[in-house]
């Protein structure tokens, strides 16, 4: 099964709608609730990152019987130093993002914690690709 969701940069009122749809699908497939929670927390963190930092993005989800693979791709400023961005507490979030309750520099480490496989690639002034794989069994 494959699904595609658009993510609008800067629009916090819609942030989370893609992750919410994925949650509904995984629930319908009777996936273990603990795995659903891990997966949607990592997707939501990644989705909020696109809304907070990028101009636009998309979430592509592939579900096969034993795993869910998700690619979150955006057009945006990119991440100059991914190792630095992975450090807890490091953030480049704007005051607006912080006012929304995010931007504490915990998103990427939390994605890592909640995913079985994580790959991040980025090009400055082009965009970022976050690939998350979680096993369903």
């Amino acid at each position: 099964m494959e699904f595609r969701f658009e993510i609008e940069g800067g629009n916090f009122s819609k942030a989370g709608t893609a992750s919410s749809e994925v949650k509904k699908i995984l629930k319908q497939l009777n996936v273990d609730p603990k795995i659903i929670k891990r997966t949607v927390v990592s997707l939501y963190e990644a989705e909020v990152n696109v809304v907070a930092h990028a101009y636009e993005g998309e979430m592509n989800v592939e579900i096969i019987p034993d795993k869910v693979s998700v690619t979150i791709q955006d057009k945006g400023p990119g991440i100059p130093d991914i190792d630095q961005a992975m450090q807890e507490g490091y953030s480049t979030a704007t005051p607006k993002v912080r006012e929304m309750g995010f931007g504490a520099g915990m998103g990427l480490p939390n994605i890592k914690k909640n995913s079985d496989q994580l790959n991040i690639s980025s090009k400055v002034n082009v965009g970022t690709i976050v690939e998350i794989v979680n096993y369903l069994k």
Partner: protein, 115 residues
């Protein structure tokens, strides 16, 4: 375990949304205005105590299967927040107490800390 009815009475709270089962018992409490912090919590049967009243508070709770949120400092849940919460079976409560006072009262009732 603390009954939702006892929480409502103790904090002089209002239930603003949700099919709130007053006999439902909650075990843990977590207080934060920072959703980044809330997203690191993996605890079942939890009451979120927060003064952050925006849609992302509801979204964060949805992702974490948090069933009850209490807004402190007299923060109000907007209509959009209430609709989203109802859609996902999340009960919203509001109270006029400060976060510190609310937490002290909830601790007295027996709600446990996450860590």
């Amino acid at each position: 375990m603390v009954k939702v009815a006892d929480i409502v009475n103790k904090l002089n709270a209002r239930i603003v949304c949700g099919k709130c089962d007053l006999d439902r018992k909650l075990e843990f409490g977590f207080a934060s205005d920072l959703m980044s912090d809330v997203l690191t919590i993996d605890t079942e049967n939890l009451l979120l105590i927060t003064g952050m009243n925006n849609l992302q508070t509801i979204r964060t709770s949805e992702m974490l299967d948090i069933s009850h949120i209490i807004f402190v400092r007299d923060k109000k849940a907007s209509k959009e927040m209430q609709e989203l919460a109802c859609e996902h079976g999340i009960a919203l409560l509001e109270c006029g107490y400060s976060m510190f006072r609310a937490c002290a009262a909830l601790n007295e009732l027996g709600l446990k800390p996450v860590y």
